[in-house]
Symmetry: none
Subunit: 191 residues, 4 copies
């Protein structure tokens, strides 16, 4: 070891090691000791910062993933929805489905983890940015009203469902979802 790292430099090295491990063996086989070795540090250094394995991994994922919290505003409902779904999907290209299920499984028994993981998965109450997109469409007169909550969250639900079960969602699948299962449900203005 040339010099002894600390603070942010150390954390970056650790996050990099976590990504390496996730890619090579996956979440279930990710071991604290091996992450420490790969990062050129030691287990106590990890545990001091992240008391559980899931905390460490969530940290590493958040460090690298985009945060899809902003509502796009293209002036057109269809484009807005597609863009929103695309941004939700994009960051997950690198993450294995198994990692997500693994995190969810651990979150299920550690309540304080649940919120971080839900955020990570864009499981947002009240529809979040989607509701904003729809409200803007109402203002523009594209639709008559914001539909029921079930419909508001439907696109993200379907896309996430696809993501969790198969691991990927293509741009075409997103478009098809929007055109076939979402837009027809919206209340169009008469005429």
């Amino acid at each position: 070891m040339a010099t002894r790292r600390r603070g942010r430099a150390l954390e970056s090295a650790i996050f990099a090691a976590v990504w390496d491990e996730l890619r090579s063996v996956g979440y279930a086989d990710l071991q604290m000791g091996r992450v420490a070795d790969r990062a050129g540090t030691s287990k106590p250094v990890l545990y001091r910062r992240w008391p559980r394995r899931a905390d460490l991994v969530v940290g590493a994922l958040r460090d690298r993933l985009p945060d899809a919290r902003e509502a796009p505003d293209t002036g057109n409902l269809r484009s807005d929805v597609i863009e929103l779904l695309t941004s939700v999907t994009s960051g997950y290209a690198e993450i294995e489905t198994a990692t997500l299920w693994g995190l969810l499984a651990e979150a299920a028994r550690e309540p304080d983890l649940l919120s971080s993981v839900r955020t990570l998965l864009s499981i947002v109450d009240e529809g979040g940015p989607m509701r904003v997109v729809l409200e803007r469409a109402v203002v523009r007169g594209e639709i008559k009203a914001v539909p029921p909550a079930l419909v508001v969250s439907l696109p993200v639900d379907l896309v996430r469902n696809q993501l969790l079960l198969t691991g990927t969602v293509s741009a075409q699948q997103i478009a098809e979802t929007v055109d076939t299962a979402f837009l027809p449900l919206l209340p169009r203005p008469a005429g």
Copy 2:
């Protein structure tokens, strides 16, 4: 021990022990040794039948869950769909979401587990019974044609999504899903 058990009697005792363990400590902390103890048997007996923990648990779940593979036939599309979704949902009342996530996490990295878990979760290619229900509705003249695959699987997808994220789905939620997000998408006959 009255007498030495074998075959089906033994398996039943083991499955019962698995359910006990699932209920008391959950899937993540379910241990083979403890299941064996509780069932009054030994680890080798378990491993002889189910090489992995997940196999054992899937077996125990299947043993007790109804198999929603048959298409209901009430003579009315809406009732058929609701009945189908209800039967998909019903058995899961007892299963913790954590168990399902745990199984999915393991299935994601063990290809041969995937199919058992998918069956368990009614993740069926081609829509399965739902397609049959729709075809009957076409014959009856309730709808003009079977909609695209994405729409066919939509009700089950949404209900399962709800199930996996919250743990329960009420009859009302099922009805709302069908009425608000499924029936409106179907091609009604003119007039």
Copy 3:
């Protein structure tokens, strides 16, 4: 299996299997199940006859080893002793040292085994045949009297010691033992 064996034919097949196992894996790794398989029978058949592994092995050894209980009588002390030691030694050519130690180790905690094993090893109180040989030599006038017990058992002790520690004893070593460490200790008649 052509026909079902019983009685002596069955035992012979089992003993043969025991010898095979002793030769291929040794006593410590000899397993009841494997002996049963090799003999084309089953474990219960073995346990019915020999409750412990050591019993089975002692049985198999006795079945094939010569019994050095008779005192040779060549008319000459030196030849008698050498012949006696040779017969003690001979049968053990095939038996591994490890087997003998293994049997002794088990005999140490199962008192009723001890006597069988001691007999097997020619550990005989009162000198056994050696005393007979010496008494005949006194009658013939070769020596004046039977020496102290410690000297009587000395040749067998030394040879067995050599056997247990190294695994083999050559004819030359026997002769040397007798000439160098035994005959000089005997009370020769004056003149």
Copy 4:
């Protein structure tokens, strides 16, 4: 637990536990897990230091037994030999024969164990200290020459033989062995 033990302090506690176990259940039933429990440590700690049960036991024995490698020098052959045999014998008072047989059984099939066990049992090539004692006697003129190897090792062989077969050797037995079966074999100076 006051504080976490390491190094020598830890080993001492483990050796003590081994002695306890040897005394209470004997070598054959000595279990690594139970030793660990009794020593307040864990199996991995044992296996890290002693890969096999026999290594652990040999270590514990060596830790407590005197090392009879030095040749006594009393100025008199008979006393030297008796002292040497006594020191060989002394430490073994506490060790069960079963333990020694068990160790020998394992040593017989694990070449690298053999040397440790042989040392433990004073099975020394070339006679070791006994040869030194005899050479000194030659210098003093007590005997004319060092006798053949077989005679040099005879006293230790006989005593050890007695030890292994019966578990104990009394001072009187040692004296008798020396006077009856060893000294008469030595070449006395004329006159």
